[in-house]
């Protein structure tokens, strides 16, 4: 029997969409009991965007939902109903950790802010994770991922040089914030282990995102410079770009990270003449003639299928990788060797596919005990075993339409 790092840790998750639930997923991977609250009264956007089996929109089988919520237990509870408040309080009494990601002020409206929860459980650790934090002039900022990316400085970092920026694809702070929340939550658990102290954590997704721009913040303060998008170029390397290969929509990322790599790359794409061109021997020279350098790579790439181009460059020790589609990613032998894609049988037939933990522990590996829950899959067991309700109480709540 493998020891699991978080065995016995009890988590009530009132979070939704991505940034909050990804934290709970990591806790479940390593043995925590995570109760995910969900409701038919308000569809989680993670159920709406897919991907879906065979591309057929089906809110019960969104891979994003599965990936965020595998390993958790599912409780159906409509928090807008007054009766739901007592259920949350009773589960907060049971829990070590409560997480939530509603807009700032929302839980308070339901009488479920930290003060109410810690009154029934003083040792509770509560993690709130909204876009801009619980206080401050912009705390009520609402929006989807594009708003988070803009509010944390990333919108202007993606675009062609000199053109209007397009911003990152997807809700970028949703990808960054869970890492910071998880580290802080684990540190808080260790602090509680040593001191017995519960606490409230007011995490702002934008503030996590800004950690990934720390050098640019320092640069602005020190020099006044404002970092802007520069296509796929990089101040430290040339060539450094993404090139169209033979065929339809096949792109190859290429970077020469040393002069020697350039010489090898140049010999392949332009022969001895290019490799020997004295103007291009140094990074400074290649930056001064960057259009010409990129044109040489582009002309070569255009005639070669992407996998062959990737192999030719890797054989020379030049960093290159196809810009992976999902098809490429799922067929990547490295992804297979790492066991990164996990197939989970679905109780109702078929399989769900989720990603493995983002960190691999040699002695106490992650494990998924169950698939992501359908709405309310485990409601009765949770209310009986964790909240201590008898059958009549559960039936009355169900009858009143609270457990939906």
């Amino acid at each position: 029997m493998t020891i699991r790092p978080l065995e016995g840790l009890k988590v009530l998750e009132l979070a939704w969409v991505v940034a909050g639930p990804r934290v709970g997923r990591a806790l479940a991977d390593y043995g925590a009991t995570v109760v995910r609250v969900d409701t038919a009264a308000r569809t989680d956007p993670a159920r709406v965007v897919g991907p879906f089996p065979d591309g057929a929109v089906d809110y019960a089988h969104s891979a994003l939902w599965d990936n965020c919520n595998a390993g958790k237990l599912g409780l159906a509870l409509d928090l807008t109903r007054p009766e739901a408040r007592q259920v949350v309080l009773d589960l907060a009494r049971w829990a070590d950790v409560v997480t939530e990601s509603y807009a700032s002020g929302q839980l308070d409206k339901w009488g479920l802010a930290y003060g109410a929860l810690s009154a029934v459980n003083p040792g509770l650790i509560m993690l709130s994770s909204c876009l801009m934090g619980q206080d401050g002039p912009l705390s009520r900022t609402a929006g989807f991922g594009n708003v988070g990316a803009a509010a944390s400085g990333f919108q202007v970092q993606v675009g062609r040089e000199g053109a209007e920026p397009i911003g990152p694809a997807g809700p970028y702070t949703d990808f960054v914030a869970p890492r910071f929340s998880l580290v802080l939550l684990l540190a808080a658990l260790d602090h509680r282990r040593r001191t017995g102290e519960g606490m409230y954590i007011d995490a702002a997704q934008a503030e996590a995102g800004i950690q990934f721009l720390a050098p640019q913040i320092a640069d602005n303060a020190a020099t006044g410079r404002v970092a802007e998008a520069m296509g796929d170029r990089d101040a430290h390397f040339a060539p450094h770009g993404v090139f169209a290969c033979a065929g339809h929509e096949a792109w190859l990322a290429v970077a020469a990270t040393s002069d020697a790599q350039w010489t090898a790359l140049a010999r392949l794409v332009g022969g001895e003449a290019l490799a020997a061109d004295p103007r291009l021997k140094t990074l400074a020279g290649r930056k001064a003639h960057e259009d010409e350098v990129e044109a040489a790579v582009a002309a070569w790439a255009r005639g070669v299928p992407a996998p062959a181009a990737e192999a030719a460059l890797q054989a020379l020790g030049v960093p290159a990788h196809v810009a992976a589609t999902s098809q490429d990613f799922c067929a990547d032998p490295q992804i297979a060797a790492r066991g990164h894609l996990i197939l989970q049988p679905e109780p109702r037939g078929g399989v769900a596919v989720v990603e493995a933990s983002r960190f691999r522990l040699s002695a106490t590996p992650a494990r998924l005990d169950r698939s992501a829950p359908a709405i309310g899959r485990d409601t009765a067991e949770i209310l009986r075993d964790f909240a201590g309700y008898d059958e009549a109480t559960i039936a009355a709540l169900a009858e009143a339409g609270v457990l939906r």
């Binding site: 990152p168 606490m199 020190a222």
Partner: protein, 413 residues
């Protein structure tokens, strides 16, 4: 008195620019993080951006991600240096490194070697593709890893090439996962008394930044492959707009995804007498059905956008943001490095800290949450060998004479 939730713990951080952030995060939370670098200086000191000051230590990348650490310059490739590193490892709770797979083993510093001197040690490896597998030794750069993780392809401006984030991000995702993995292994150690190896693959860390679209092919969603040639582009106008004095972000919401926000915007435009009567009766919650039925065309939407563009262009950003907050319009200011540092919101919440390096002050984001007692005060990134004597004294009880001897042999700087 040490402060911060992780103040009881010691971290030996051997990473370079690929892994610096992991130790920084633990250091921000109060761990005693000793950044070990070659006596000639870490390669991360040569990563930009740089200050205008032509001093040797002018990397702001280093300033940012080596902050919250102390500095020890140590030649671990010299036998005496390796021996010293093993003595330090015996005293550490965590060791973080970001070498290409195999490099630590060739130095005699693989996990198994380290476990011999300290079975409780947690060893975090942050690598491009993970410690094993067919691509473990592939040539890589941040751009090619971003491509391998599936995060590059979706960012497109028309039919141009996929666009990366111009501030390199890939290794930061991996290093942040390294910090999580370290603490998860710490909870295992509380039960077993033993350390273990934590193995991070930047490729799979980066895949987090795809919103799970990397899974499409595995379940047969056709979005896993490029659309066939000739597929018309989806209706997608820009979501950024010019204000009178800057730029704001607002997707033109429709249906369940933001339709109420667009209704609120049009209500404001009507109140201001600046709407267009053609659009007054539209209900943006139901507009998707009209588009599907063909009663609304892309040309109509272009005209709507033109009306909104005029409305925004007449108003300063501050007014747009204020009304958006009041009216629940999903709009925000497009922040830059400059506006972030000037932001009353973030400065008021205590996000930024100023630290003082030998060459001058550095403004850095620090506490990413409000959590009383969690974060230690931020300390500046170290100069080369700045804390060598101090650390060897505290961790190993070496006295000044012993330190001087090591320095004379060029084992430390």
């Amino acid at each position: 008195m040490a402060t911060g939730f992780l103040s009881p713990y010691r971290v030996l951080d051997l990473s370079d620019e690929r892994g610096l952030l992991a130790g920084r995060m633990l250091g921000q939370l109060g761990a005693d993080v000793v950044q070990v670098e070659p006596t000639a200086g870490s390669p991360a000191r040569r990563v930009g951006p740089f200050t205008d000051d032509p001093a040797p230590d002018n990397s702001l990348y280093w300033s940012a991600y080596a902050s919250a650490k102390r500095g020890l310059a140590l030649d671990i490739d010299a036998p005496a240096g390796r021996a010293l590193l093993l003595r330090l490892a015996a005293k550490a709770d965590f060791l973080i490194e970001s070498e290409t797979p195999g490099v630590m083993a060739r130095r005699g510093l693989a996990f198994s070697d380290l476990a011999q001197v300290n079975p409780r040690l947690i060893h975090v490896s942050i690598t491009a593709f993970g410690s094993d597998g067919p691509k473990a030794l592939w040539a890589q750069s941040e751009l090619t890893l971003w491509a391998a993780g599936g995060a590059l392809l979706p960012a497109r401006d028309g039919d141009g090439p996929p666009l990366r984030i111009s501030v390199p991000q890939g290794w930061l995702h991996a290093a942040a996962d390294g910090a999580s993995g370290a603490l998860m292994a710490h909870f295992a150690r509380l039960r077993t008394g033993l350390g273990q190896h934590v193995d991070i693959s930047a490729q799979t860390s980066i895949a987090e930044a795809t919103l799970s679209t990397v899974l499409a092919e595995a379940i047969g969603d056709p979005r896993g492959r490029p659309p066939p040639p000739g597929t018309p582009a989806p209706i997608r106008g820009s979501s950024s707009w010019l204000s009178l004095d800057g730029r704001v972000e607002m997707a033109l919401g429709m249906g369940a995804i933001g339709g109420a926000s667009t209704n609120a915007l049009f209500a404001w435009m009507r109140e201001s007498g600046e709407s267009d009567p053609r659009f007054d009766a539209w209900d943006w919650l139901g507009v998707l059905a009209q588009i599907q039925a063909g009663t609304l065309t892309p040309d109509d939407l272009d005209e709507v956008r033109a009306v909104i563009r005029r409305f925004f262009a007449r108003r300063p950003t501050a007014e747009l943001v204020r009304e958006a907050l009041r009216r629940r319009i999903l709009l925000t200011e497009i922040q830059t490095a400059r506006t972030l540092t000037e932001s009353q919101h973030f400065t008021g919440r205590g996000l930024f800290a100023t630290v003082h390096e030998a060459s001058g002050p550095r403004l850095l984001p620090h506490a990413w949450a409000k959590a009383p007692g969690a974060f230690a005060p931020l300390t500046p990134a170290p100069g080369i060998g700045q804390h060598s004597a101090e650390v060897l004294g505290e961790w190993l009880d070496l006295d000044a004479l012993e330190v001087a001897a090591l320095a004379a042999e060029r084992v430390i700087a």
